[in-house]
């Protein structure tokens, strides 16, 4: 029987590339595609795929929260997180969310097939940078003084994180309510709880928080180069 894979990325061109890469492999088929996290959760529940590949930077519901929701629905889902960044925080969040694979988009052509093969054989796959981080965390355990510990932020619930992302993407409370099939009043209650928990006073604070915590990602233009070749 074929291994069935669900692909979630907001760029159709990337999904096409991933599909072409995965379907070259005998015995694998892409059984569905989703263009945001919410659609990924819906399709996963409908299609019950063997492996789910989830991009981190997606609108409406980002890939990390998608992973959390998927595993809350069914802890047997096998999720590979695909990301443009290997920052410590994204890696930690992906591991915490329960991802079994972590692949950098820039290395996907090389690593994604290995990652799917690993999951198929009930193993995990992480880009080498993750192994370093996990090992560093392991070695640090047992030391009495922890260095560079960041102060703990108040924890938002899954629903609050979802609403934070939608508000930071520029939706009004009414629009959020319609997207999540909630009443505007319920969304406004969540909104004031979020603002109170985080001690925020404006939507601007919320946007900055959403960017810092990888709920949303922003695109930056390449730096202006006065002359000669430079890195973009």
């Amino acid at each position: 029987m074929k291994l069935r894979i669900l692909l979630a990325d907001d760029h159709e061109i990337v999904r096409r590339g991933l599909r072409a890469l995965l379907e070259k492999h005998e015995g694998w088929e892409v059984c569905g595609e989703a263009s945001d996290g919410r659609e990924a959760v819906e399709k996963a529940l409908q299609l019950n795929p063997d492996v789910i590949i989830v991009d981190v930077g997606m609108p409406n519901l980002n890939g990390l929260d998608t992973t959390r929701q998927l595993l809350q629905h069914d802890p047997h889902f096998k999720v590979i997180v695909l990301t443009i960044t290997d920052s410590d925080q994204v890696i930690r969040e992906a591991l915490d969310a329960g991802a079994r694979g972590f692949v950098l988009k820039s290395d996907a052509a090389r690593d994604l097939v290995s990652a799917v093969e690993a999951l198929q054989n009930k193993r995990m796959f992480f880009t080498p940078r993750v192994n370093d981080l996990v090992l560093a965390g392991f070695l640090e355990k047992g030391q009495t003084v922890s260095r560079n510990e960041t102060p703990k932020l108040p924890t938002l619930t899954a629903r609050e994180r979802e609403i934070t992302q939608l508000l930071a993407e520029g939706n009004s409370s009414k629009e959020v309510a319609s997207l999540l099939n909630l009443s505007t009043k319920t969304v406004e209650t969540h909104r004031s709880n979020i603002m109170r928990k985080l001690s925020f006073h404006s939507i601007r604070d919320l946007v900055v928080y959403a960017i810092k915590n990888n709920l949303i990602q922003i695109e930056l233009p390449p730096p202006k180069a006065p002359a000669g070749p430079t890195a973009a």
Binding site: R16, G17, S106, A225, P229, A232
Partner: protein, 137 residues
């Protein structure tokens, strides 16, 4: 007539996606690929493509710089940007650098074929998100 295309993007997965889309057209041929602007300039010398599909943000040499170099090096080559930047300013900069086309990556599946068709006939094709402007100059 066969249109010879050189594909330039730093993400192999994106190149693969663009390639499957372009190769759906029987008369078009992807003659080569490059992963940054400097490699694009080098490969254009050898391969003489008709159209270059070019990303903006890339390491070593970005697409805008490559475009300026290619304008001088290969005046007959038509350049089409396919980029994540859904911005009129970036589009203007791309056209000023000498590109004939500008398409946003998130809409590439919708706009790319029409854009390659247009620029290969030396017509301008620009499309920002949800808005196609075929003859803006």
């Amino acid at each position: 007539m066969t249109i010879r295309i050189l594909l330039v993007d730093d993400h192999p997965i994106v190149r693969q996606g663009l390639k499957t889309l372009l190769e759906g057209h029987s008369d078009w041929e992807v003659v080569g690929e490059a992963s940054d602007g400097a490699e694009a300039v080098e490969k254009a010398k050898d391969l003489h493509p008709d159209v270059m599909v070019l990303d903006v943000t890339m390491p070593r040499m970005n697409g805008l710089e490559a475009c300026r170099v290619l304008r001088r090096q290969a005046p007959g080559l038509e350049i089409l940007f396919v980029t994540q930047h859904d911005s009129p300013q970036m589009m203007r900069e791309a056209l000023d650098a000498g590109a004939r086309g500008y398409v946003v990556k998130s809409n590439a599946a919708r706009d790319l074929l029409a854009a390659v068709e247009a620029v290969s006939q030396h017509r301008v094709f620009t499309a920002l998100h949800g808005r196609t402007v075929p003859e803006l100059t």
